[in-house]
Amino acid sequence: MLGGETVEGVESLEHSDPRLRHAVEALLFAATEPLTTDRMARVLEIDETTVYQALVDLRTDYHDGRGVHILPVAGGYQMVTHPDFAPFVGKLLAAPPTRLSRAALETLSIVAYRQPITIPEIEAVRGVSSDGVVRTLVERGLIHEAGQKETPGRPNLFVTTEEFLVYFGLKELTDLPSLETRTDAPE
């Protein structure tokens, strides 16, 4: 039985209970590999036929057209995204393909050398509004928020991430070219 004696907090369930279907849903969702009905039956401590029935019901819920569906695969079942949305999923999972813009690189160097730093401080150096570019850098995981500055308005502080080091092939922040040699450059 999917139930109280062995696993606390979940009451005994009738075989037709929709919660059984949702228990199967939780298992299929969490597993990264296909699950056999046999394995699910052992985890849920019920018989395989009941699991199979719950699975049939669940597959009806995950009807065609939804973002996710349940496929029989390799002797078991697996939740996968619907092929219709593959282009988007592919885009999501792909490494950020675009290169960084000049503005992004400029902002990134300011953060790298002056961190932790607020957006107004970045803007003071660049002389232009930097809200958007900071957001882009945060989304690309190259910088992130790190507390607030103890000044009026408590603006967010930003620092570079470990991803920043990876992206630029740096071992540590001190690997960054020294600022002194660069300030002489007239441009």
Partner: protein
């Protein structure tokens, strides 16, 4: 800090009015016990012990408000700094409690992408194709022995081709998604030729990887299950 806070709570004393002499001696006693039990007393504990002793000695001095270098204000309680630090530490301990609650709740929700445990407990592991073929062969021999004993009932002999049997077995297994027992595949078809045709069809499907074969124990029941060709998941 933790030890100090513990002693204050244990003595049920007001944190704003710590009996320094009492707490200091208990603190030093505890350190001595730790040493006796061979626990390495870290330097920080000794620093705190020294701080307590210093406060204790300052409390013993007669108060001279007029000599206070800070001027008009009454001389600060020498315990004040310690009290501030204790209060601060206590706040963080409370936050740590909240975080612990959050952690406990969060651990009940699983995201995707966590590795699942290797299924060692499986009582009916799938057989490798080679082993599966051998088990099928053993089962076939038993089946044929029984078939020999059975009286020949059909006089009209149809020619059964492997193609026909392949289609028939495939249909049967696709219909019974939860799998079928080996014998159930031979229910209609007592004669030797048909049994062998069915058997050859099973072997072919096994070779193509379209079926999986499980056996609970040696010579136990064999379960045959249709296996969908692997589809690419995300």
């Amino acid at each position: 800090m933790d030890l100090l806070l513990h002693l204050i709570r244990q003595n049920k004393v007001d944190i704003y009015d710590i009996p320094i002499a009492l707490i200091a001696s208990q603190y030093i006693d505890t350190l001595a016990q730790m040493e006796a039990r061979d626990i390495n007393v870290a330097g920080e504990f000794l620093v705190m012990a020294a701080t307590l002793m210093e406060i204790k000695s300052r409390l013993l001095l007669p108060a001279h408000p007029g000599l206070d270098p800070e001027g008009e204000e009454e001389a600060e309680d020498p315990r004040q700094e310690l009290v501030d630090r204790l209060l601060e530490y206590q706040r963080f301990k409370e936050v740590a409690d909240s975080l612990q609650d959050l952690e406990a709740n969060r651990r009940l929700c699983f995201g995707r992408g966590m590795p699942i445990e290797v299924d060692r407990a499986g009582p009916t592991p799938l057989l490798l194709p080679e082993t599966a073929a051998l088990s099928l062969l053993a089962a076939l021999r038993r089946l044929l022995e029984e078939a020999d004993e059975a009286p020949v009932t059909s006089l009209r002999r149809e020619r059964i081709t492997l193609q026909i049997k392949l289609r028939e077995v495939t249909r049967l297994l696709q219909h019974h998604k939860e799998g079928l027992g080996f014998r159930e595949l031979f229910l209609h078809g007592g004669d030797r030729e048909e049994i062998i045709a069915t058997f050859l069809a099973l072997l072919e499907l096994l070779r193509l990887g379209r079926i999986s074969v499980k056996q609970t124990k040696a010579l136990g029941e064999i379960r045959v299950k249709w296996q969908q060709p692997a589809e690419v998941g995300v």
